[in-house]
């Protein structure tokens, strides 16, 4: 719960800083580079934690199969429910109001 609160607070804080504190015309190309560095660092650490866990390494095949199944269900589930919502709102496949 604390982690969720922390994530939201930091994200909203960043949003306010980006919206109010930084001039809009200021070039912030370095920020995208920093973002990339952070993602790489996080993924490296994640990989290291996974790699040093013998249980995971020994069952990587079944983990892959579970992940693939979950991904297929997640893709199907979101598309199916969006179709339900879209039809309920009377919107056609091309995103236009049909009635």
């Amino acid at each position: 719960m604390n982690m969720v609160f922390l994530c939201f607070t930091i994200g909203i804080l960043g949003f306010i800083v980006g919206r109010k504190a930084i001039p809009k015309d200021k070039d912030l190309k370095w920020i995208d580079k920093l973002l990339m560095v952070l993602v790489v660092a996080l993924l490296f650490i994640l990989g290291a934690e996974i790699g040093s866990d013998e249980n995971i390494v020994s069952s990587i095949g079944s983990i892959g199969l579970v992940s693939l199944t979950l991904a297929v269900f997640a893709l199907a589930g979101s598309a199916a429910m969006v179709t339900v919502a879209r039809k309920a709102l009377g919107i056609d496949k091309r995103g236009k109001k049909s009635r």
Partner: protein, 201 residues
């Protein structure tokens, strides 16, 4: 980008498997790794917040479309959680674990990191699942756009629908769908931290 993802994870796994446990710094590293992850994650979220706050065009568009548009991300989030929970019936994991993985919505550098604390195995599943979801989701946008619907395809890649997928969505569908795609990704984006609650951390 996808090259960098694969390289960093593979290097991490190799370092974790081959080198880390044999080194003297490992014990001290494993004591601080949890805190290091939180610091990096906070920095990442702060920067993403800044980028969103600076995006004038999107904020203006959002004001024009109204709150009704939120029904689409809500439907996609509900669908993902419902279907991943259903998938757990065939899999050796609980419904909560399956939903926690699903709640990553393709954000593979976030949800798995939160789940490390819960279980490294579930974290590994969440990582792989979300990489597959994002990459397959992106690849399917142009393939399925006219078959299943323009709005539906924006729900496929997850959080990436709000940024990296926008040019692709515009090309494969219609420029009016771009705002929906942004709201879809943003709605999922703010839902990802709930991964922790679903897993019960």
């Amino acid at each position: 980008m996808s090259k960098a993802i694969i390289i960093s994870v593979v290097c991490g796994i190799a370092a974790g498997y081959l080198i880390l446990p044999k080194t003297a710094i490992y014990t001290s590293y494993s004591q601080v790794s949890g805190k290091l992850i939180i610091v990096l994650l906070c920095l990442l979220l702060f920067i993403i917040g800044i980028n969103l706050g600076r995006d004038e065009r999107m904020l203006k568009n959002l004001k024009n479309v109204g709150l009704g548009i939120l029904v689409f991300p809500i439907a996609a989030i509900f669908g993902t959680l419902l279907f991943t929970a259903a998938a757990s019936l065939f899999l050796p994991i609980t419904a909560r674990e399956a939903m926690a993985c699903g709640c990553g919505f393709g954000w593979y550098s976030f949800a798995p990191v939160i789940l490390l604390e819960y279980s490294p195995t579930i974290s590994a599943m969440a990582f792989l699942m979300n990489v597959i979801r994002e990459l397959a989701g992106i690849a399917l946008i142009p393939v399925l756009a006219s078959k299943i619907g323009y709005v539906e395809v924006t729900s496929l890649p997850g959080v990436a629908a709000m940024d990296v997928c926008l040019p692709l969505v515009e090309k494969a569908t219609d420029s009016s769908i771009v705002v929906i795609s942004f709201v879809m990704g943003a709605g999922m984006c703010v839902t990802v931290p709930l991964t922790g609650i679903i897993a019960g951390i």
